[in-house]
């Protein structure tokens, strides 16, 4: 057990409180709703037992640590530098909470300020918040922010945005907004569709690049359509790609959001991840989430604190810019350490290796008779190929070869039956890629 009060101390304390038994403290809890006896739960278990039991459960999962992972689609098997877990597991960080008392939380506040700075550095924006739950909720919060800024309520969403992000967006806007979704045109945004759908009530046009299919979007064209109608342009991006690609802000994006998992965070079956949100300074009072500012103490020394809190739920309640309270601070910290350790040159190198390895994989796969490229667009670390057979059976074969294959797109879009989305990070070696290609080639030949 983890409590520290001994039975004797407890008796002393009850005496100080002025009651003769613990029961006397429960006078306001009606007896008929109290639990009689113990909950129907297992008895306490020692660490030894738990370790044994939970290792068995953990070992039932095939994972990217003992298997080669070519699966992406919003969660990526990038390498994690050793110093990230070493530093982020320091218990001053892990066992703190939101830094409400600035003077005793300067270190944590500074890490958040550095996170904001790095996200601004990556995205080319002037403001970034302290984190949101994940990429999908960041997209939803961007839609809500755009609605507040423009006082409009319709959102035009490209069908090339991750389907789960679109799902979360739909949930968030259930009763407060309208969504028009534009189906993709051959793997990229149907710009004509966007043009036809946008109107004077459109708060934002939402794009993703590289998109769900891995394709790079024509951002300037899409953003221009939004601006022609005084709508905001929101772009979801992969932060690793920003090591190499111009940020959407250079094409005029008003808000850039994304998922930070790839920045030194384990796959962890989908979470905890971290959403980031960056925009222009003029919108700062409309953005969701916590913000840390640099300021001074009473003696003029540099210090940090939470700032612009009047946007937040604990002050503004029903008129807050968001309901978020607990965020993803520790994952933001990990991402900050990742960006520090990669640095200017390291992030570029990671991005280049992703690009080159993905292109090598793509070419090798497309050389297999029966395998065809799906979309004629440039891509970064993910791409779609059309197979002459079911991706599910290919994936079974790959698993026998120690490989987690790509995503079967047929279950997301019937038009993409037999299409597979493959992700290649800097972690993949030529051997692993060749094994993927050989296994698929052999399978196709034998089928």
């Amino acid at each position: 057990m983890f409590h520290s009060i001994t039975p004797d101390e407890e008796q002393d304390m009850l005496k100080t409180i002025g009651v003769s038994s613990f029961e006397d403290l429960l006078v306001e809890v009606p007896r008929n709703i109290r639990v009689k006896g113990l909950l129907d739960l297992p008895p306490p278990q020692s660490e030894l037992e738990l370790r044994r039991r939970l290792k068995i459960l953990a070992n039932q999962n095939i994972n990217a640590d003992n298997t080669v992972c070519f699966l992406g689609a919003g969660a990526y098997d990038h390498s994690i530098p050793a110093i990230i877990p070493a530093l982020a597991s320091r218990s001053e960080f892990t066992t703190a909470y939101t830094p409400y008392q600035a003077e005793r939380s300067q270190g944590l506040l500074q890490t958040i300020y550095e996170f904001q700075s790095m996200i601004c550095g990556l995205t080319g924006h002037e403001v970034a918040n302290a984190s949101l739950y994940d990429g999908a909720s960041a997209l939803a919060e961007a839609a809500l922010t755009a609605m507040r800024i423009t006082k409009r309520e319709q959102i035009v969403v490209s069908g090339t945005i991750h389907p789960h992000y679109r799902g979360v967006l739909k949930t968030y806007l259930t009763s407060v907004g309208k969504i028009i979704e534009i189906p993709h045109a051959n793997g990229v945004t149907n710009l004509k569709g966007v043009k036809d759908a946008i109107n004077g009530n459109t708060a934002a046009v939402m794009l993703q690049s590289p998109n769900f299919y891995g394709c790079l979007e024509e951002l300037s064209a899409g953003i221009q359509i939004a601006h022609d109608h005084k709508s905001l342009a929101v772009v979801s991006i992969d932060p690793i790609a920003l090591g190499l690609l111009k940020p959407p802000s250079e094409f005029g994006a008003n808000i850039t959001i994304g998922e930070g998992q790839g920045l030194g965070n384990p796959l962890s079956y989908g979470g905890p991840y971290v959403g980031f949100f960056a925009t222009r300074k003029e919108y700062v009072r409309q953005i969701p989430g916590r913000l840390v500012g640099r300021t001074i103490d009473t003696q003029g020394r540099r210090g940090f604190c939470l700032t612009l809190q009047t946007r937040e739920q604990h002050i503004r309640r029903d008129r807050a810019t968001s309901n978020i309270c607990t965020n993803q601070a520790l994952i933001a910290l990990r991402s900050t350490i990742y960006l520090a350790v990669m640095g200017k040159h390291g992030l570029r190198a990671v991005a280049e290796q992703c690009l080159k390895k993905a292109h090598y994989t793509y070419q090798q796969l497309c050389n297999i008779p029966g395998v065809a490229p799906a979309f004629p667009h440039s891509f970064f670390k993910e791409f779609v190929v059309k197979l002459p057979c079911s991706p599910a059976t290919v994936n079974q074969e790959l698993l026998h070869a120690g490989i987690i294959g790509g995503l079967d797109l047929g279950s997301y879009d019937p038009a993409l039956t037999n299409h597979m989305l493959i992700s290649v990070t800097e972690k993949r070696t030529r051997d692993e890629i060749d094994r993927l290609v050989d296994t698929i080639a052999r399978h196709i030949k034998s089928a």
């Binding site: 290792k55 066992t95 302290a130 259930t174 009763s175 601070a329």
Partner: protein, 481 residues
């Protein structure tokens, strides 16, 4: 000591992280991408690994967590976070599992989610749990959408209002608004509990839900909970529990037995997953069976001893998270509950309650305590008596930092003037409760005898009082290139 920022430590020319040599053809980037989309400057620091280690180690030393000292932040349940939780979550089979791997490859984690749901159902007395919400606030929002769907289904009408007591946490109104509801505030009575007459006045068939916190944010149990449940249910209103304070009830009383239809609880609080400097947490969302069809999708189901993800849930409110929620946090909560078991959990609420009352009693002759009677897991004291000396609750919080404690929650709940909300949790030793009470009493004396000492606190830290007004007037939110 002022630690430079990571950008100030940067020097041009320091190499980045070393990758293995490229082992595929080194096609120039310009041949693979349109040169128009390739970026030039990248505003990131150039620092050595050793400098980074020192930098973040120093920043950690300028951070306060519960492992260093007492952290009585009310409503946040800052209890000890067992280290075994982290060890288990870091097992490769949990940490390196891709969310889109087939259920066949993920049976272990799906079973853990399923089993955690079973444990929480028993703890809360509910029929079904979704572990997808990433925090309490997201669970609140999901719950209000579910209530909306439920009313729509029942009567073709979503109803328009949600009732929320004036003592409620800010996320409650913010979440209900996002679900499209108008807020009506229910007054607290002189006993700090929901004013039943005000509730009766407000309840009608246009109300979708009452969002109640129990024990409430004063740490007081809503004595009339059964009656409240009857009043709202008679009008078809759904009863929602903000279960942030479940630490007071665990093993002692079940929300499901009190009449709640839908409940959220914060796994990072009651189930000790740690708080991570502000997150990540996880918000479990539990319901009675009539609301089950509306839970976020996908759900985890067991079929013939196999675990599957069920996406075919036509009445679901949809997804709230990109994947299935904060799994790493769920693993920790599961580990914690399993470690404590039935007897351990029972001791949690008992000692949390004893500790809070002990503090209340020790402070009652030194601070005004607005609702001074047995509380549950936290107590709220007021600093209003010191206002005449210019000392506010905020100042007392700052002075506590000099005594090497973190501060309670300040100025919340809103119904208490100059509130200091103190939650000791069950894990705190008696000696540290005593030291904290001694410090609070010493500060109360200082507030009378030497108010400036308190008003200008802290005096012993690397920085003095931070100027939050300047922070807003001269916004500096990032290190610019």
């Amino acid at each position: 000591m002022i630690e430079p920022t990571i950008f100030e430590l940067s020097r041009e020319g320091r190499p980045g992280y070393l990758l293995p040599p490229l082992d595929v053809p080194d096609t120039p980037v310009e041949e693979l991408l349109d040169p128009k989309v390739i970026r030039t400057p990248l505003h990131l620091p150039e620092v050595s690994e050793f400098q980074i280690v020192r930098h973040f180690t120093r920043l950690s030393q300028a951070t306060f967590g519960i492992d260093q000292g007492f952290y009585p932040l009310g409503s946040c349940t800052m209890k000890y976070n067992p280290k075994i939780n982290d060890e288990i979550a870091n097992l490769p089979g949990f940490a390196h599992l891709h969310p889109l791997q087939s259920p066949g490859q993920s049976q272990g984690v799906l079973q853990l989610i399923y089993d955690l749901e079973e444990l929480l159902k028993e703890i809360a007395g509910l029929d079904r749990i979704s572990l997808q919400p990433t925090a309490g606030a997201q669970a609140e929002f999901a719950a209000m959408l579910m209530v909306r769907s439920y009313h729509q289904q029942q009567s073709g009408n979503t109803r328009t209002k949600v009732l929320i007591p004036d003592s409620a946490h800010g996320t409650n109104p913010a979440s209900a608004i996002l679900a499209g509801y108008k807020i009506e505030v229910v007054k607290s009575g002189p006993d700090g509990l929901v004013d039943i007459n005000d509730l009766k006045r407000l309840v009608d068939t246009d109300c979708a839900a009452l969002m109640l916190t129990n024990p409430n944010t004063l740490g007081l149990f809503e004595r009339e909970i059964v009656k409240i449940s009857e009043i709202v249910h008679a009008a078809g209103v759904q009863l929602y529990l903000d279960g942030a304070n479940l630490n007071a009830l665990v093993g002692m009383a079940k929300p499901g037995d009190m009449g709640f239809d839908v409940v959220h609880f914060n796994l990072h609080k009651t189930f000790s997953t740690p708080h991570g400097g502000g997150g990540p947490g996880a918000g479990a969302l539990g319901v009675k069976s009539h609301l089950e069809p509306y839970l976020p999708a996908p759900t985890v189901e067991r079929q013939d001893n196999r675990y599957i993800l069920d996406t075919d849930r036509p009445q679901s409110i949809g997804r709230v998270a990109t994947f299935y929620g904060n799994i790493g946090i769920l693993v920790r909560a599961f580990t914690y509950i399993s470690r404590l078991g039935h007897t351990g959990l029972r001791a949690v609420s008992r000692l949390a309650i004893v500790n809070a009352n002990y503090i209340r009693k020790r402070l009652e002759n030194h601070y005004h305590i607005p609702y001074n009677r047995p509380c549950l897991h936290e107590c709220v004291v007021s600093a209003k008596d010191f206002k005449s000396n210019g000392v506010h609750a905020w100042d007392i919080a700052k002075r506590l930092l000099d005594y090497e404690f973190y501060a309670p929650t300040v100025n919340f709940p809103l119904i208490v003037e100059e509130a200091l909300m103190i939650e000791p949790t069950e894990t705190e030793p008696k000696a540290s409760l005593d030291a904290f009470c001694d410090a609070m009493i010493a500060i109360a004396n200082e507030a009378s005898s030497a108010p400036d000492l308190v008003k200008n606190a802290p005096h012993t830290l690397a920085v003095s009082r931070i100027d939050e007004v300047t922070a807003i007037r001269q916004l500096d939110l990032r290190e610019a290139p």
